[in-house]
Symmetry: C2
Subunit: 125 residues, 2 copies
């Protein structure tokens, strides 16, 4: 999808690096707690909607469609800040999260999924 | 690369969902501050090295090689926690960051790259 069809500011568009599908990862972080809530994907249109509506909109790679977080669950993500990383291929979205971010009912998609770390800094320093 | 050649625990391996290149995004977050520092990519081997050496190792998509953060810059990332998200296609790595995480000299790759948000929650609620 050409960037100029989405209404996304060309100055923003040219800072973006997209993958071969036109997508880039979006990390969603809770503004107040700093908790990383989830990772979704966006294209230019999803980013434009996120910047201009105040609510986070992702692009679903499995359903090939846009989804505005909270439309079915009520678990809205209100946009506080949006940042690109240094090479423009990832976006960080800081939000006020209504309810739980994860469809499993957890606050964050990263709750309860710890992977055992064999060696920690305390072993080495 | 078959998962079993990396030494990665099969119980961990089977929780992972990889893209068509065998990769998955890794969000790196500072353990003490909660700051999101960067997003890199891993495959099974990079994850196994991260879990077993105490230092974060990524897979470079542009160079097609592993890179252990800090080997050239000294800006080591010591691993504190590793978590998968609910569907196992993203990893969150919490670290003690030595020096700056970004090659530009910034603490985080998301510093100084704000994107203007047109509508904020305060406009709507």
């Amino acid at each position: 999808m050409p960037a100029d069809s989405t209404g996304l500011d060309p100055e923003i568009s040219k800072r973006l690096t997209r993958d071969e599908r036109g997508l880039f990862p979006a990390i969603t972080q809770e503004f107040t707690s700093g908790d990383v809530l989830m990772l979704g994907w966006m294209d230019d249109e999803a980013l434009q909607r996120t910047l201009t509506t105040g609510r986070v909109t992702y692009y679903s790679r499995s359903r090939n469609s846009y989804w505005r977080k909270g439309d079915t669950s009520g678990h809205i993500q209100w946009v506080r800040e949006v940042r690109f990383d240094c090479d423009g291929d990832t976006v960080l979205v800081k939000v006020d999260q209504v309810g739980e971010a994860c469809h499993t009912g957890k606050h964050s998609c990263f709750d309860d999924n710890a992977v055992p770390v064999v060696v920690t800094p305390d072993d080495q320093r």
